[in-house]
């Protein structure tokens, strides 16, 4: 007994020791970050735009999405520094991480207080929502006042989507800000069938085509999933951040939030897919598929798959599958807050946020710098395919799988000012994207974001229920008549009503504020 007491005493002492040592480390990190952000920001704000050259030298550390070698990043950073040094006396460093690891790398770098001044959002923990909620990034409202050009380049509506708790936390990537959905299929097979696709308006209208495919091409799955996901819900719902409490059809004026999984829309989609799966129109094992849809299409065992629709999508599909693809549009473009999830943010440890924003603004507005970051060094990572039209492509001997600076223009601040990648791409792509954004239907809920902090337990429980039912239902693997009632029952037990009512009250408040 005595022994054990001693052990615990020792452990407590140790924990204390540990707490002191790491505490000091924490403190230095946070103290160096917090104060200058306010004082210096205000001082330099007024001068920043008039006499940029007289600024102290500063290095902006940038983290971005996509694989790239250390060497290529260094080269790009060096070239970018040349441009920025002249103008702002600022140099940059660049690091890029693959899509799956990016968020965790950012989480560690942010927790460790490492030097970082500009980061791209990722797909998981490094989203605007969680970064703003956990204090990983700085509010930009005051800083943006000094950067009028950047502020003007983004629409008021889009800025609203970047707000969390009344503060702007990110600069949205200039790219398509809306999404339509449709069915993308192999053009060659479609032509062989000689099927009139112009009559297809709703998802259910695809049935005739799918049956024809099944009859004409044995061994070809009419619809496939990508890694078990159907690839898009053919509806006009606005999820307002998550599936719990949605606008069932955001084209109507209704502002009532409903349980998406209890809607008729959801039910009819599941019914349809279940019937299709029974008939063999959806691949077997659709919800546990271990391949991507593009791999299956490339291998010639699939006809098509659902996904989002936007300008240039057919070219994108072609480069992913290696086959000419036709997009059959089903859902017209509409825009919600979640269409603006990709953005750039300034992490809390940035010592001079105004300098970081200056660089971001330049990346957003200056095509020379934008192209450099997005595509790398000319003639090494890319070359002109058609200079007049602004089309570029990989140089001879380089391909998507061998380049050491991967292309992901959408992940950079503003792809709309860049060259268009791909020798056969549409030179008008960005112009069309602009039009697409302008003409897309705007959801009533666009700009609203849900603060889920009071219902985290319910969300965790509901997420688990959803991961059990949603995918298999959508892939047609479960009979909706049996599964949906059970699904709803479990959701209720998990507390979905609490989430919906919390969201509804926040939403009503937000709506009232918009109208006042």
């Amino acid at each position: 007994m005595k022994n054990r007491k001693r052990i615990f005493a020792a452990l407590t002492a140790l924990a204390l020791l540990a707490s002191m040592t790491s505490c000091s480390a924490e403190e230095t990190a946070s103290s160096s970050a917090a104060p200058p952000q306010q004082s210096e920001a205000e001082e330099t704000v007024s001068q920043a735009e008039e006499q940029p050259v007289e600024q102290e030298p500063y290095t902006v550390a940038i983290a971005a999405l996509g694989d790239a070698s250390t060497e290529a990043c260094a080269e790009v950073a060096e070239a970018a520094s040349k441009i920025l040094e002249e103008k702002y006396n600022t140099t940059v460093t660049l690091i890029r991480y693959g899509y799956l690891e990016y968020d965790q790398q950012m989480q560690l770098a942010l927790a460790g207080g490492e030097k970082l001044d500009l980061i791209s959002s990722g797909f998981f923990s490094c989203s605007l929502d969680s970064a703003a909620a956990s204090g990983q990034v700085l509010a930009l409202n005051e800083l943006l006042e000094s950067s009028s050009e950047l502020y003007a380049a983004v629409t008021e509506e889009d800025w609203r989507c970047m707000q969390r708790g009344g503060q702007i936390y990110g600069v949205p990537n200039g790219k398509e800000h809306a999404s339509g959905y449709g069915f993308s299929c192999v053009t060659e097979m479609l032509e062989q069938l000689d099927y009139d696709v112009s009559s297809i308006e709703e998802e259910a209208d695809l049935e005739g085509l799918l049956r024809a495919v099944k009859e004409t091409f044995p061994g070809v799955d009419p619809i496939v999933t990508s890694g078990g996901n159907m690839g898009g819900v053919m509806s006009y719902r606005d999820t307002l951040g998550n599936d719990y409490g949605v606008l069932e059809d955001c084209r109507t004026d209704s502002t009532e939030l409903v349980n998406w999984f209890a809607t008729d829309t959801y039910r009819s989609i599941c019914d349809l897919h279940y019937r299709w799966a029974q008939e063999g129109l959806i691949m077997a094992d659709a919800s546990s598929n271990s391949e991507t849809a593009s791999t299956l299409i490339a291998a010639g065992t699939a006809f098509g798959y659902f996904h989002n629709n936007k300008p240039g999508i057919e070219d994108e599909d072609e480069s992913a599958t290696g086959k000419e693809m036709t997009m059959i549009p089903i859902i017209d473009a509409y825009s919600t807050t979640s269409n603006l999830s990709e953005c750039w943010m300034i992490p809390y440890q940035c010592e001079q946020p105004e300098r970081a924003l200056q660089v971001l603004s330049e990346m957003y507005l200056n095509p020379e710098l934008g192209n450099l970051f997005a595509y790398g060094i000319e003639s090494k990572h890319w070359e002109f395919a058609d200079e007049e039209q602004g089309l570029i492509d990989f140089p001879e001997g380089v391909s998507a799988s061998t380049t050491d600076y991967s292309v992901a223009a959408w992940a950079w601040p503003n792809e709309l000012i860049l060259y268009v990648f791909g020798a056969d791409a549409d030179p008008e792509l960005w112009k069309k994207t602009d039009e697409f954004n302008e003409t897309a239907f705007q959801s009533v809920g666009k700009g609203f974001s849900f603060d889920s902090s009071s219902v985290l337990n319910e969300i965790a429980a509901c997420n688990n229920v959803v991961s059990k039912y949603d995918n298999p239902l959508q892939a047609g693997a479960l009979d909706p008549a049996e599964a949906i009632p059970k699904f709803l029952e479990e959701l209720e037990a998990a507390g979905i009503d609490a989430i919906i009512s919390e969201k509804q009250s926040q939403f009503d408040e937000w709506l009232a504020a918009q109208n006042s």
Binding site: L456, A460, K468
Partner: protein
């Protein structure tokens, strides 16, 4: 024997001085554990905080036990606990039995070339990552091209099975995959213990006319006792944990199977995937460790009463 040793020197400092080389030997390991394991344990406080990066680990506000709530306020709480426990118990029992079976077999055969081949072979799966393993398992189970359906059931004239949507098979599949992947490693441990049993015991037993089974019961098993107890105690300490790769990758995250594949780790993953709340995820870790800790203390206490030398501490 123990008593006499214990009795040797009760004279405090002198005794400690006599043992200085032992303390010197403990030093590097002690320092390493202190740094690598104990200092980061301070991070456990995150489980009790609403973690904010700008405030850091220490200044973030306390939230008491609210980060733990999501583990219990769910109708699945019982299911995930039951699954985690039952799988781990099965792994412990079957893993130990099979590992002993294989090690004993290895010990019994004479040809050293064969020994090498067998031993290398069973270790291969341990070297394959779970992601790759999940592709291989898919190669067997895929309902259209999979080996089981195409190579076995169809030629036998039986109906193909849609493996990824039939929960009833999965407890077996998961246990098989676990054993397949970890057997080699466990064999390594038991074989090492086995070959250090003194040969003379066996020779004496043979002279006494004891058969293989008797030798096994009276010499081999007692010789392996400490290893078995140690490994089991360690496994008990991790009994609330599950190999995420095994339960997530191998069933391809198929929702239909979730009733039989859901474990605490998987639940935490699905629940926090989007919010990525590090307070809540460390709360889950603290809970898992805490339960393991209590169980190990209990188990170790029992072992101590039955057989002092085999206890871990």
């Amino acid at each position: 024997m123990n008593k006499t040793k214990k009795g040797i020197g009760r004279s405090g400092p002198v005794k400690i001085l006599r043992y200085w080389p032992a303390y010197l030997m403990l030093l590097p390991g002690f320092v390493y554990l202190l740094i690598n394991n104990y200092i980061p344990m301070a991070g456990i406080v995150i489980a009790f905080k609403n973690f904010n990066y700008q405030l850091g680990m220490w200044k973030s506000p306390w939230t008491g036990f609210s980060n733990f709530e999501f583990l219990f306020r769910t109708s699945d709480a019982w299911l995930i606990t039951r699954n985690t426990l039952l799988y781990n118990l099965t792994f412990i029992v079957l893993g130990t039995v099979l590992a002993i079976l294989v090690s004993v077999s290895l010990n019994e055969i004479r040809s050293s070339a064969a020994k090498k081949v067998y031993q290398t072979s069973v270790l291969i799966p341990y070297l394959i990552s779970m992601v790759i393993a999940s592709f291989l398992v898919n190669g067997f189970l895929n309902s259209r091209t999979g080996f089981l359906n195409k190579g076995i059931l169809e030629p036998l004239g039986m109906e193909a099975v849609s493996w990824y949507s039939e929960p009833q098979y999965w407890p077996f599949i998961l246990v098989i995959v676990y054993l397949w992947k970890n057997l080699g490693y466990q064999v390594l441990l038991y074989y090492a213990a086995l070959i250090s049993i003194d040969r003379e015991y066996y020779e004496a037993a043979v002279i006494d006319g004891a058969g293989r089974w008797k030798q096994f019961l009276h010499i081999t098993l007692p010789g392996l006792k400490t290893t078995i107890i140690t490994l089991t105690l360690l496994a008990v300490g991790r009994i609330f944990y599950s190999d995420f790769g095994l339960f997530y990758q191998i069933p391809m995250d198929s929702g239909v199977l979730l009733d039989v594949t859901n474990t605490i780790d998987l639940y935490v993953y699905h629940g926090l995937m989007e919010s990525n709340n590090i307070g809540m995820s460390s709360a889950a870790g603290v809970y898992q460790s805490m339960v393991g800790f209590v169980l190990v203390l209990l188990a170790n206490f029992c072992v101590r009463r039955l057989d002092r030398d085999s206890a871990l501490f």
